[in-house]
């Protein structure tokens, strides 16, 4: 994997506590799965950074290798890969997402 892309990803996940690699932006998601995760974070009032992989083809492929995960969106909380849409949705529904946010000291609407 290209070192430049690796650095770019590391900069993003080091720079923001909650990062969502997504298709489109939080205001204008371009895929239903990205929109779903984005909406869950909005409902929980989590301050997150959306990184639009559609703007950078090398990033789009690079993040898949970086996380060893074949799909987008991908959610990182405090540098840790939490999951894609299905896992985040399940965690949102069963309360585990709130627990992770709490454990990691991220502020959200309780």
């Amino acid at each position: 994997m290209d070192q430049q892309i690796k650095d770019l990803i590391n900069n993003e996940i080091n720079g923001s506590e909650v990062c969502l690699f997504m298709k489109g932006t939080p205001d204008a998601p371009q895929c239903g799965f990205s929109m779903a995760v984005s909406n869950m974070l909005k409902i929980l009032e989590v301050d997150y950074k959306g990184i639009n992989v559609l703007e950078n083809q090398s990033l789009r492929e690079g993040i898949k290798q970086f996380s060893d995960w074949p799909t987008i969106p991908q959610l990182y909380i405090k540098k840790e890969f939490v999951g894609g849409c299905d896992i985040v949705k399940e965690m949102y529904e069963n309360g585990e997402l709130k627990k992770i946010l709490e454990d990691k000291g991220i502020s959200f609407k309780k």
Partner: protein
Amino acid sequence: MAMDLKEIEKLIKEALPDSMVEIQDLAGDGNHYSATVTSKEFSGKSKIDQHKMVYDSLKGKMGNELHALAIKTKE
């Protein structure tokens, strides 16, 4: 490109022989599926690892021929 429901089921079953696989074609377009996979192999593994096992069974088709597959794993 689309993928047949039976082919998805076959690939998952090859990788996880004990699994029960339920697949739904969500949009009826051969492109958006959901799969519920139940297998003892998931026992003791994180959700991320469980989903990776299903992705691995699809041998790189996920994100390529297969555009969307919502996965739910159960032990």
